[in-house]
Amino acid sequence: MTRRSPLVFLLLIVAGQVSPAQSDDILGDITIPREDETSPSTTPLAVFPHWKHRLYFNCNVCHETLFQMQAGADHITMDAVRDGQFCAVCHDGKTAFEVGFDTCELCHSAVAAGTP
């Protein structure tokens, strides 16, 4: 019979609490690159969290009428979104939160490499 030290128990408890799914980066999250890569903009890139959308809608609601399945195939720009295309079909303030200046960071939440 082995006796474990309290330290090992503590480590086990800590390890048991940690789940890989608790990470912020979930399978299916897509970071949308900037249209113009030379742009000096410091706005964080928009992240599309697939899993949050799968909770509420089947795949065929968006694919492939609103978005193509191939990542990067659609040229999603803020101008197009403000015109009511792509994300703004739902993100109009009725089905989901509106695209506006008080909701920027809900999508533009990517942490750029090298920034604290």
Binding site: L12, A21, I26, K52, C59
Partner: protein
């Protein structure tokens, strides 16, 4: 050190007192003292055979995640403060910690809509058809493709005939191509469960005897 000696003397006296009472006192008094100190002391004159102590297994699960709260995701409320982390915690997980969407749907944890407008939501057409794909001379790696779990999410046109042809066995599907993002790899490993860790979910025989 005066106070240290004093403490030592008091301790010694206490030990002497307890031991002396236990040994030298009357049987009834000794019994009382023993009952205070030890558990399950037999009455005087009775011999109690020692019972083997059967302990619980030492390896208990260290932490059990809370049971998923059923039917919590019905409709999105456009609020800014949404506790996504708590929501993620309640979703069922697969063996490697990813979200188990099939179980979530089967258990009714989520009820995804079939249309943006809930008032005119069409019925999702579910096809209960299993396609069996067996590589030559490798029965262990036979793949069972369940149409049911896929059509609960997707429409036919999402896969046919852009990704897969309509004829079973017509596509030259290999694991190399799937890892390269073709065929199943168009979704699996990107939004659906990972190819590298989800082997027995397609190759059912790899899961072992049920």
């Amino acid at each position: 050190m005066q106070w240290q000696r004093c403490v030592n003397f008091i301790l010694f006296a206490a030990v002497l007192a307890v031991a002396g009472q236990g040994v030298g006192c009357a049987t009834a008094t000794r019994q009382k003292i023993m009952e205070v100190v030890f558990e399950d002391v037999p009455p005087p004159g009775q011999h109690k055979p020692p019972e083997p102590y059967v302990g619980h297994p030492r390896r208990q699960p260290v932490y059990e995640p809370p049971a998923p709260v059923m039917v919590l995701v019905k409709a999105y409320e456009p609020v800014f403060q949404y506790d996504w982390k708590a929501l993620l915690w309640t979703l069922p997980k697969d063996a490697v910690g990813g979200i188990d969407w099939v179980t979530a749907l089967e258990d009714g944890v989520i009820e995804p809509q079939t249309s943006i407008d809930p008032a005119h939501a069409p019925q999702q057409i579910v096809l209960p058809l299993d396609v069996h794909l067996e590589p030559e001379n490798l029965p262990l790696f036979k793949v069972t493709f369940p149409h049911k779990q896929h059509t609960e999410w997707l429409a036919c046109a999402n896969c046919h005939s852009g990704i897969f042809t309509m004829k079973a066995g017509a596509d030259p599907i290999t694991m190399e191509k799937i890892f390269a993002g073709e065929y199943c790899g168009e979704c699996h490993g990107k939004v659906a469960f990972d190819v590298a860790t989800g082997c027995p979910r397609c190759h059912l025989a790899l899961a072992g005897p049920q």
